[in-house]
Symmetry: C2
Subunit: 348 residues, 2 copies
């Protein structure tokens, strides 16, 4: 498709452009890279590359700029992904050493690190509750007429809601209810809670629906809590350091996008994402208007072989892909490693 020389030249251009954010001219390439070619030859090749759609020209007398298609080729075949520097690895290790024993905190911390070492914006989601199963359900009496419903999922996520219960219910009875609920629900996926099960529970503790209803509501609330999927964002202002966002209009567009957690969480839960693979979406490959000039690098983390969440880095299409990718690879490993520690070896 593209002969070796063209590929070399394209890579040189993109490498340079990632570095400088300035359109790259033929002379620059001839001088900086040892290709043994004159600027005129390179000029011809660049014209070809443009015709093929890998490069674009802001205006006739400017240098060339990579197109999304160009970046795609670069990412798939041209770039050299080097190992993370020892320094960075050390830094990550140190940052993750902070004793973490809850999932959300682990992910939050990972997100912080990613934004710090990449200098872009990072985003992460905790598991979708709906895909999880109940590990424990507890009803804890707080004071007369009030109880706390707690749901713990197999992915280690904890959610709780305060509910009101009829005043005449004694704490002891609540605990009894709690035990039955726990027995009945444990192991089920969250959306398996249906009327059959509820019937069984009612039967078992022979309690009027009146009592059970607020509690079940609490559970439902835990499950469908608006932000049941936490979205963490870090380094949101990093983007303002890049020249392509010097324009306030661009900057606002980007930042407004980040404000919509729903969108982000959708973005991160891309359907086609394969386990253990890093996914890269370049510019217009993101079908969302607000980030058509951004690239997104995402990875997932899993329990067993079920993907339960993901972490991503978003920045200008002119992104240091090699760096981001190697960092992402590293952090993904660490997350999965720590995840095992948190959940213990006895994860079903």
């Amino acid at each position: 498709m593209l002969d070796e020389r063209k590929r070399r030249i394209l890579r040189a251009i993109i490498d340079d452009y990632i570095d400088t954010a300035e359109p790259i001219g033929s002379r620059t390439i001839a001088r900086k890279h040892e290709l043994g070619l004159s600027s005129a030859t390179i000029r011809n090749e660049m014209a070809d590359l443009e015709e093929m759609g890998y490069l674009a020209q802001p205006h006739t007398s400017a240098g060339r700029v990579p197109s999304d298609k160009g970046y795609r080729l670069y990412v798939d075949h041209l770039m050299k992904v080097n190992e993370l520097s020892l320094e960075d690895i050390e830094g990550i290790k140190r940052a993750m050493e902070v004793k973490i024993n809850e999932l959300s905190q682990l992910i939050r911390q990972a997100s912080v690190i990613m934004s710090r070492i990449t200098k872009y914006t990072s985003m992460a989601t905790t598991p979708q509750l709906k895909k999880s199963t109940f590990k424990a359900v507890q009803v804890v009496p707080i004071e007369t007429g009030k109880a706390l419903v707690i749901v713990v999922t197999n992915a280690g996520l904890v959610r709780n809601t305060l509910v009101k219960v009829p005043e005449r219910i004694t704490p002891d009875f609540l605990i009894q209810i709690s035990n039955v609920l726990n027995d009945k629900l444990k192991g089920l996926t969250l959306n398996q809670v249906n009327s059959t099960i509820i019937g069984e529970i009612e039967l078992e503790i022979s309690v009027s629906t009146e009592v059970l209803i607020p509690i079940l509501h609490g559970i439902a609330e835990c499950i469908s809590q608006v932000d049941s999927v936490d979205v963490f964002l870090d380094g949101t202002t990093n983007i303002l350091n890049y020249p392509e966002f010097r324009d306030v209009v661009k900057a606002r567009e980007f930042l407004s996008f980040l404000d919509e957690r729903e969108l982000i969480s959708k973005l991160l839960q891309s359907e086609e994402h394969k386990q253990d693979e890093i996914e890269i979406k370049i510019g217009s490959e993101n079908h969302l208007e607000g980030i058509k000039d951004c690239s997104l690098v995402t990875a997932t983390y899993s329990v067993g072989d079920v993907i339960i969440g993901s972490i991503g880095v978003i920045g200008p299409t002119r992104m240091e892909y090699p760096r981001v990718i190697s960092s992402m690879n590293h952090i993904r490993k660490i997350i999965n490693q720590e995840l095992k520690k948190i959940l213990g070896d006895n994860t079903e």
Copy 2:
């Protein structure tokens, strides 16, 4: 100190400046406001006001701009705070009607509303745990070797941590521990947990420290959780709509400031804040460098007569103070009202 006419003129200038963000000239004032004065007279008065420090001039041939001192006078004595429009009141009411039964959600929602109706950035904090007392402490067995420690404070805040416990501990025994803990700690303030109390607890359940330690750690973790004070931010990008932040450097300064949750939480927990009063800090009155061109309007909410958290709006010094203040007043009332509902009437 300032005669009536000067005050009238100053108010007119500030009103106009808040509206337009453009330096105000003498002719504008003479034309738009019915003061029965010529531009020349106003010009003289403006020169006086500038000398007194209420106004400033960007350059010799420009109009006048209010100084921080000018805004201060305006806020304290000149502006007219009108009632919130029925429309707005209706809007707020509708937005808060969403069934809310946990404190954090209430505050979060209030913050969202404030940013929406003021068009500035809003910030809010949930109660400081340290000032609170224990309402309930529970240890819930999750699976062998693991338990969830839950702390509920009198202010309705719930925190939890997963802890490891020796595997030989049975769930029943954990529950027993839980009960003792609950009895012993209930009503204490969070930093009253000391070795005496721990001794008592050990005595009562005659358990080796080995078991108790992870649990107490869990409680400590709940108490000192890094972000035990949640900080909610909304409308962070609103600021980009105002001309004073058209410059990316300014915008970044502001947004970077917002990234530091610690600073914000300190900012909101201003020492001198009186209950039931709205506090206004104008420009350089905020001693923090990053927001010296911003004004901050804050209110607190309380349980009984203890301030447990606050909510604030931050925007350019050229802020629509009257609107912000009346909105703030309204939302504060609603928060305190809802707070009572959540905590029930039996709040000690």
